[in-house]
């Protein structure tokens, strides 16, 4: 099918928008050129694209960054967690604000350092999973990211990391247009937790490519919050080896446009992946989109997608989730649930759950629901004297908790609960 010429013009526009990154080694230049070529071939995302049916990408693709005011105070999160902190301000690493980039069992470099080396393991990962993730669905913002990203971390985990690496994304410039690209390679049997939080920039494009080798475990907890006007497109691409584990949870509050894509591929048998998320949106400016694609291409793997969205005052929540089971992926256990809780008639939850199964011995289930607060429960709580706003918060937190429970670490889960409870108390009807 012929694509409209605007898509290609817009793709060139996207590439021109960002300053060229430092040249780097030959392989790095090639990887970037290939990504640019991918983007040019697929064109920029447009509203009429099937994959962007529920989310208008215009704010991500227009030339000028719309100004986004930023919150000056940093949200206290993960404060009580012993972690190595790395701070990016408007997408630029700030060593002066960060801890030493040293963590036992973990090698940490900057993307610039790694891409400048003629021989580096990153060659097998940079843009590689992103490119694999372009089939069967185009992810142009990710291709753009690989083509232009100059900042990010390159992380290799060889053992069990004693504490999480915590990436803090500070937003200080009203028109910043930031691009970050992280690479995470977990070697056999490694265990690593990545934390992320902060609004990052007025406009933010982030890609994380995660290669999880046999028997390794990757944990990811992310809190996207603070600034109301920020626009964000993020992608996580993961490849899972045998008996490996991948667990990702994202909390999103505020933000006029957030599109979080996760593309997970099982390549080794007996692995498990969970992608969970909770979002709370207030106001008709709020738009949040979770788009997940899980491909089972190995035997006896388990995948879970658990998404909860609480929406009020015209907020919009989107979930597009797919489980693809390839012919040889027998004994696949795929689970997917997405639920919207609408606190008024103006808000919307739009869901497109998909199963595509080519193996015969699989157990896959999916469900999607949307509704209001349970009036009977509300009456029970208030009839005992619980004030209405608190009763509603209790029910909202209970609703979301099923997603939060997917976080393995209790302290991290409690941090997310606190953050959400605080947000709810500030955003009452």
């Amino acid at each position: 099918m012929a694509l409209p010429a605007q898509k290609f013009e817009a793709a060139d526009g996207l590439l021109a928008r960002h300053a060229a990154p430092e040249a780097g080694a030959v392989w790095a230049v090639e990887a970037r050129d290939a990504a640019a070529a991918r983007l040019r071939a697929m064109g920029a995302p447009m509203r009429r694209d099937e994959y962007w049916k529920f989310t208008n990408p215009a704010a991500l693709t227009i030339a000028a960054t719309q100004a986004a005011v930023f919150a000056v105070d940093e949200e206290p999160i993960f404060d009580d967690i012993d972690r190595v902190k790395v701070v990016f301000v408007d997408g630029v690493l700030r060593r002066d604000l960060s801890d030493d980039l040293s963590l036992e069992g973990v090698e940490i470099e900057t993307l610039g350092e790694a891409l400048a080396k003629d021989i580096h393991w990153a060659r097998d990962l940079f843009g590689v999973l992103e490119a694999r993730g372009q089939d069967p669905v185009d992810r142009p913002m990710a291709a753009l990211n690989t083509a232009v990203a100059g900042e990010g971390l390159v992380i290799r985990v060889t053992g069990k990391a004693p504490k999480p690496l915590s990436l803090i994304y500070v937003h200080e410039n009203e028109t910043s247009d930031a691009v970050l690209h992280h690479l995470v390679r977990l070697e056999e049997g490694a265990d690593f937790t990545l934390l992320e939080n902060g609004p990052a920039a007025a406009r933010f494009n982030k890609v994380v490519e995660v290669d999880v080798a046999d028997g390794a475990a990757f944990h990811h907890v992310r809190a996207q919050g603070r600034d109301h006007e920020r626009k964000t497109a993020t992608h996580m691409f993961a490849r899972l080896g045998e008996e490996s584990a991948y667990k990702s949870f994202t909390l999103t509050v505020n933000g006029v446009l957030t599109r979080n894509e996760q593309v997970i591929e099982f390549t080794g048998d007996n692995a498990a992946a969970t992608v969970a998320g909770a979002c709370a949106g207030d106001g008709d400016e709020f738009h949040h989109d979770d788009t997940v694609f899980v491909t089972h291409d190995a035997v006896n793997c388990e995948s879970r997608q658990v998404f909860k969205k609480v929406l009020r005052n015209g907020a919009v929540g989107v979930f597009q989730g797919k489980i693809l089971v390839q012919p040889d992926a027998q004994k696949t256990d795929g689970y997917q649930i997405s639920q919207g809780l609408l606190l008024d008639d103006d808000s919307q939850f739009l869901a497109k759950p998909e199963l595509e199964i080519y193996a015969d011995d699989v157990a896959c289930s999916h469900g999607s629901t949307c509704g209001g607060v349970d009036e009977t429960a509300m009456f029970y709580l208030t009839s005992r004297g619980v004030p209405k706003p608190e009763a509603q918060d209790m029910l909202v937190l209970a609703f979301i908790d099923e997603a939060i429970q997917e976080i393995e670490d209790e302290a991290l889960a409690d941090d997310i609960r606190d953050l959400l409870a605080g947000w709810l108390s500030r955003h009452r009807a």
Partner: protein, 251 residues
């Protein structure tokens, strides 16, 4: 304590009159029982008094300690001293029993301008009350009524009542689904709360609860009205003869 005058209630959604002029007064310190055939409007009365949505008061009034309660929100009625032990206690997954009860208690105290109870004092209070009702720590930790047996749910209602110490306790068929031992526990819990400043409205089908919780007066409700009132002997009459005689008598 509670004064209900000529209360007429219909369903909000459909044109169905359920209460057709209820007159009822509960004196301070009194235990009043309401008996009546299924569908006569007993639960509806309890819901309307506690402020559940879906009903429309078309006529009449209800006051608690002289205050008109029909215009109040459910949580305001609770703070004013009203409590309904539900016929069907609600399961609320994800909301902890203790969090719920503490928020309820402190919500009421705050509304009345009283000081909130500290976490430690609250814990002490609940443990003490729970023990008397044979509610174990595990039950307290679970989400509200989730996974509770019928009897456990009813005991949990009485626990909430004991902790919240309301002035006007309405109990809607708290005895249904209870075995003899559980009924004894519930009755003991209620009797422990009996006080000159506290009243009870006990809705029941059976004499057996009233053997344990001795009522001062018994009201018979049928087709949305109180059709007869009397002493405890009225409950015995119902027990032996059913409602047919009484209904015939007033018809």
């Amino acid at each position: 304590m509670l004064e209900i005058k000529n209360l007429h209630v219909k369903l909000e959604e459909e044109d169905k009159q359920i209460l057709k002029g209820v007159d009822l007064t509960v004196e301070p310190g009194q235990v009043a029982a309401i008996m009546g055939p299924n569908g006569s409007g007993k639960s509806t009365l309890s819901y309307v008094l506690s402020g559940r949505d879906g009903y429309e008061v078309t006529d009449g009034a209800a006051t608690l300690l002289g205050e008109d309660i029909l215009e109040l929100e459910p949580e305001e009625r609770a703070a004013a001293g009203l409590f309904l032990a539900f016929q069907y206690p609600v399961e609320i997954p994800g909301v902890g029993n203790m969090t719920f009860l503490r928020t309820a208690l402190n919500g009421q105290r705050k509304a009345r301008g009283e000081e909130e109870l500290s976490a430690a004092d609250f814990l002490k209070l609940v443990r003490e009350k729970a023990k008397a009702l044979k509610i174990d720590a595990d039950m307290l930790k679970r989400p509200v009524n989730v996974g509770f047996s019928g009897g456990e749910k009813k005991r949990n209602e009485i626990l909430q009542m004991s902790v919240l110490e309301p002035k006007m306790c309405i109990m809607d068929e708290t005895d249904s689904g209870l075995d003899v031992d559980a009924m004894k526990l519930v009755a003991d819990g209620v009797n422990a709360l009996r006080d000159a400043g506290r009243s009870f409205l006990v809705i029941t089908h059976y004499q057996r609860l009233l053997d344990h919780i001795k009522p001062d007066v018994v009201h018979i409700m049928a087709d949305g009205k109180i059709i007869k009132s009397g002493g405890p002997e009225l409950a015995l009459e119902v027990e032996t003869n059913g409602y047919a005689d009484i209904l015939a008598e007033v018809a």
